[in-house]
């Protein structure tokens, strides 16, 4: 999977990820692609005063699909 995070871009990359866990269940999550390397990606769900407080690290090998969302597809609830 190609890397999606552009370090010098201030815009958040919002991704929907479907992944498999060791128990062979499949899950999906949505959030900000906060970090990525050759082994893991980090999806952040929740931030307090700009600092991440809820996130998940997903092994690249466990990813079934990843879909980067256009910001126009995301509704604001403020």
């Amino acid at each position: 999977m190609e890397k999606l995070l552009i370090k010098d871009n201030d815009e958040n990359v919002i991704a929907c990820v479907v992944f498999r866990t060791d128990d062979n269940n499949e899950y999906e999550c949505v959030g900000v692609l906060a970090e990525e390397d050759d082994i893991l990606i980090k999806i952040a769900f929740n931030a307090k005063n700009g600092e991440i407080v809820d996130s998940i690290n997903i092994k690249r090998l466990d990813i079934i699909s990843i879909n980067v969302l256009d910001s126009s597809k995301i509704e604001e609830l403020v």
Binding site: N25, E28, C29, V30, G31, F45, E76, L77
Partner: protein, 171 residues
């Protein structure tokens, strides 16, 4: 695919510091799938992936990680919230406060916020929050009733006014 939301909300917070200089509420921003349940907003961060939509009718078992927030915690609602609930309540009064709290959900079929009962000294009334000194809090819903927070006694509690459902002077 379910609709995805960006949610901006405020939350109550405890402090364990000797002094508090808080001038505004902590601000949160979350992404997730959203469902409204009466006056609660259920935000799902992680859910089971169900290919067959017919099998996804029972959402309760599908939420793996998420939040339940009061609908009054949304930034736009909290900042514009107007109430007379604090009328006649003076600074330095010992008060009891009933308030709704944000809940973190993990593998639980929770669709409503917790209800808290706090006694403490009202030391500040801000535009959208109050601060209680030496708060003693119990969670009254859901049962069993238990002390809150779990670890140690906080020195201050900051509560959004929009979370408060009742406040009474004890002395």
């Amino acid at each position: 695919m379910d609709k995805i939301y960006n949610i901006k909300y405020v939350d109550a917070s405890y402090s364990y510091e000797e002094n508090i200089n808080q001038t505004k509420l902590d601000s949160y921003e979350a992404y997730g799938y959203v469902k409204k349940n009466k006056n609660n907003i259920v935000i799902t961060f992680i859910k089971k992936h169900v290919v067959d939509e017919k099998k996804s009718s029972d959402e309760e078992i599908n939420i793996i990680k998420g939040l339940v927030i009061p609908d009054t915690s949304l930034v736009s609602v909290s900042s514009a919230y107007r109430t007379n609930i604090l009328e006649g309540i003076n600074i330095n009064s010992v008060v009891s406060v009933i308030w709704r709290d944000v809940v973190r959900v993990a593998n639980l079929p929770r669709y409503d916020c917790s209800v808290m009962y706090t006694e403490g000294i009202l030391i500040k009334i801000g535009s959208d929050y109050v601060i209680l000194k030496d708060p003693r809090t119990i969670r009254t819903h859901p049962t069993p009733i238990k002390n809150h927070p779990g670890g140690g006694l906080p020195t201050y509690l900051v509560v959004p006014i929009s979370f408060i459902t009742d406040i009474t002077i004890i002395k």
